[in-house]
């Protein structure tokens, strides 16, 4: 049980490539902190630096106030769940869980008591005498967690623990991990590339990109007040729509008509000529379902809907549109960074399941302007956020914002193409050789 503090932590590999760049984070005692980002963003490296499996090039890592930079992993008293579980195949489940206690020369009675307690918590009692090879993926995952919780570690570290499970099991284990962490109340750092895991599990989420911290905030804040284009595009599924717009005397000209945003959304706007308007899919609606009272707070426009996906509880409509080429290129770049691929510029619109909009025809849609974000395409900054009341975020998050902005100015869109090629290599270095049968 301890707080973990990272001060300007940098990891530079032998060839000078910075995998983790000047990251400062305060993880409070008992907090569930998520490190999230696309592959190659340095999140696993950061976690391994906390646990001591990677050297720290510069900066400090403090656990419970003690600087641990030069301590061996075993002296840091942290426990970790690895992506591929790293169970000891020659030991039974019981001995796997007991392993840390055996190393600490705990007396047999204590070992037995603790192992049974952990097994009870994770419902592993009937498997204690089996070997890991005979367990299912979910059971192995639980054994790995048992090994982590069996001793009084100062914090738990998870390195993408669910990425090897199938979708259904992943959902269940996610809930289990949340329950376990709440029950034990132990500081937890959890690395994932899955934004759903990040949003559902974390007390706070640190979004990383190319070794830089972009934003560290509560899931709600990330979703509602993303610091920049990257965070806005990364958090949320389907992702936020970015609509290119030109500034025309106080308003914006978009492919869907001219809009004038409420003053609080545009306060950060400087002398930009072109901006990106960020609109979540759910900020659109079928105009016929919009309450008349709010209708004039939004933009009503006609658009050609080419595909509709009906999911039962909601439906997604896709509206292709033409955008200026440089904007299209920048959006494609952003998409690539987020591990996806944009084939065309299109709006993704979430409609109420009751909507009966026909597919392949022109429909009248409505966009809620009160929740739009304005982004500067050159820097990626969220111009809406700059105008948000500063009281909304505490001191810590302001620090994180400052961090994010510093990061952005260093790794702006201009050099992102060059860095993009190297990021794959880092990912390869993080990944262990998989020798499964």
């Amino acid at each position: 049980m301890a707080e973990i503090t990272l001060n300007n932590v940098v990891k530079r590999y032998g060839d000078g490539f910075p995998a983790v760049n000047d990251i400062s984070l305060d993880i409070a005692d008992g907090e569930f902190m998520i490190l999230v980002g696309p592959s190659g963003c340095g999140k696993s490296t950061l976690l391994r630096m906390i646990v001591g499996l990677e050297d720290i090039t510069s900066g400090d890592v403090l656990i419970a106030g003690d600087r641990v930079n030069d301590k061996a992993p075993r002296d840091r008293n942290l426990s970790m769940v690895f992506q591929n579980y790293a169970l000891y195949p020659h030991l039974t489940v019981y001995e796997n869980i007991a392993f840390p206690l055996r190393l600490a020369h705990a007396p047999n009675t204590e070992v037995d008591e603790r192992v049974r307690k952990a097994a009870d918590l994770l419902e592993l009692e009937e498997h204690l005498d089996r070997k890991p090879a005979n367990l299912s993926g979910g059971q192995r995952q639980r054994v790995a967690m048992g090994r982590a919780i069996v001793r009084d570690a100062q914090a738990f570290l998870f390195d993408e623990p669910l990425s090897n499970l199938d979708a259904k099991l992943r959902g269940q284990m996610r809930t289990e991990i949340a329950r376990l962490q709440k029950g034990l109340g132990i500081t937890t750092v959890y690395v994932t590339h899955d934004q759903v895991e990040a949003m559902t599990l974390g007390d706070r989420v640190a979004v990383m990109r190319k070794g830089f911290l972009q934003q560290c905030a509560t899931p709600r804040e990330l979703y509602e007040q993303p610091a920049n284009l990257f965070v806005a595009g990364f958090i949320g599924s389907p992702p936020m729509n970015f609509i290119p717009a030109t500034v025309v005397d106080g308003g914006f000209a978009t492919p869907f008509g001219n809009v004038r945003l409420p003053d609080d959304r545009t306060a950060g706007l400087g002398d930009q000529e072109v901006v990106l308007l960020g609109a979540r899919p759910e900020h659109f609606d079928d105009v016929s379902l919009v309450d008349a009272a709010v209708k004039d707070r939004g933009l009503t426009f006609d658009a050609h809907v080419d595909v509709i996906e009906w999911l039962g509880n909601e439906q997604f409509a896709y509206v292709p549109y033409e955008a200026p080429e440089d904007i299209t290129r920048q959006l494609a770049e952003l998409e690539r960074e987020l591990d996806s691929e944009a084939l065309r510029t299109q709006l993704v619109v979430a409609l109420d399941a009751a909507s009966r909009l026909p597919e392949g025809q022109t429909a009248t849609l409505w966009l809620d302007l009160r929740k739009l974000h304005v982004f500067d395409p050159a820097t990626g900054h969220n111009l809406t956020l700059a105008s948000a009341a500063p009281g909304a975020s505490d001191e810590l998050e302001q620090e994180a914002h400052a961090e994010a902005e510093r990061g952005l100015s260093d790794a702006g869109p201009a050099d992102s193409a060059a860095a993009g090629s190297t990021s794959d290599r880092v990912d390869g270095a993080e990944r262990p050789t998989d020798t499964t049968t």
Binding site: P73, R74, L78, S79, A86, Y88, L103, A133
Partner: protein
């Protein structure tokens, strides 16, 4: 596992049988010879006319050739076991370093090891003979153990480093996070996981030492260090008209037994795949 058609299965069985018979025929012949009485040796048939244990009595304690055979057996066992032990321990450490660490000259060490392994033993026997006599290692156990190590270590290092490379590094990291020192992680996690490799190298080392003839005959002169393969060379018949073939066969059978037993004991361990279940699979 892919399914074979009946035709393929039959071909496989026939092929295997041919190989087994081909390999085991000399052993069967040797066994048959060892049970033939001296007068029966040239009976021009495979089986002895009348099975006799005379040859075995001759070489076991109380027999006429026991003075030659029993010390040689003791030498062989001792030298082979010691050489195996040292070889396994040394190659384990060396291979671990080669598999885990990146140091300058790593490739050089591996290629040199390979070069040493394929170097013909006969060519270094003569210089060794002179050297050993000068420094007093001639006709001693260490005098044989050291050359055996030079034969077995390169191969052992190659095999072991291949096994170590197979073990996910995360196993060791997990152990370290769990509170193990590097040595504890090595001993409690890595070595048990590399057990098939350890047994393989142990067996190979043992066989190399056990079967060696060139060093055994060249670097020894008395029963102080002479191993069995060399001692067989000194077997004689009861008179110069009697061939020692029967006694040699019996001795050969006896020294084959430990080898067979070893393989039978360890074949289970040699089967790879012990790491299954360590990681997602």
């Amino acid at each position: 596992m892919r399914e074979y058609s009946t035709r393929q299965r039959v071909l496989w069985i026939v092929g295997s049988l041919v190989i087994v018979v081909y390999c085991l025929f000399p052993v069967a012949w040797l066994t048959s010879l060892s049970f033939k009485a001296p007068a029966d040796l040239t009976n021009r048939q495979f089986l002895p006319t009348e099975p006799s244990t005379e040859n075995y009595e001759q070489i076991l304690p109380g027999g006429s050739a026991a003075d030659l055979f029993m010390p040689a057996l003791r030498n062989s066992i001792g030298i082979s076991l010691i050489a195996t032990g040292i070889s396994v321990v040394l190659s384990m450490f060396a291979a671990y370093a080669i598999a885990r660490l990146d140091f300058p000259g790593k490739r050089l060490i591996l290629t040199t090891a390979l070069a040493v392994a394929i170097f013909p033993a006969v060519s270094i026997v003569t210089p060794l003979f002179n050297l050993w006599r000068q420094i007093g290692l001639y006709d001693t156990w260490p005098g044989l153990i050291i050359p055996y190590l030079s034969l077995t270590l390169p191969l052992s290092i190659w095999i072991m480093s291949a096994f170590f490379r197979e073990i996910p590094w995360e196993m060791e990291q997990a152990a370290q996070v769990d509170g193990a020192t590097s040595w504890q992680a090595f001993r409690r996690v890595i070595v048990p996981l590399a057990a098939p490799g350890v047994f393989t190298t142990a067996i190979i080392s043992f066989f190399t030492a056990w079967n060696d003839f060139v060093y055994g005959i060249s670097l020894t002169s008395t029963s102080a260090a002479r191993p069995v393969p060399a001692a067989l060379n000194f077997f004689t018949g009861e008179s110069q008209f009697i061939q020692p073939t029967g006694a040699i066969s019996a001795a050969a059978i006896i020294v084959t037994i430990p080898v067979v037993v070893l393989v039978l004991i360890f074949q289970r361990q040699i089967v790879a795949g012990l790491t299954s279940g360590a990681v997602k699979g």
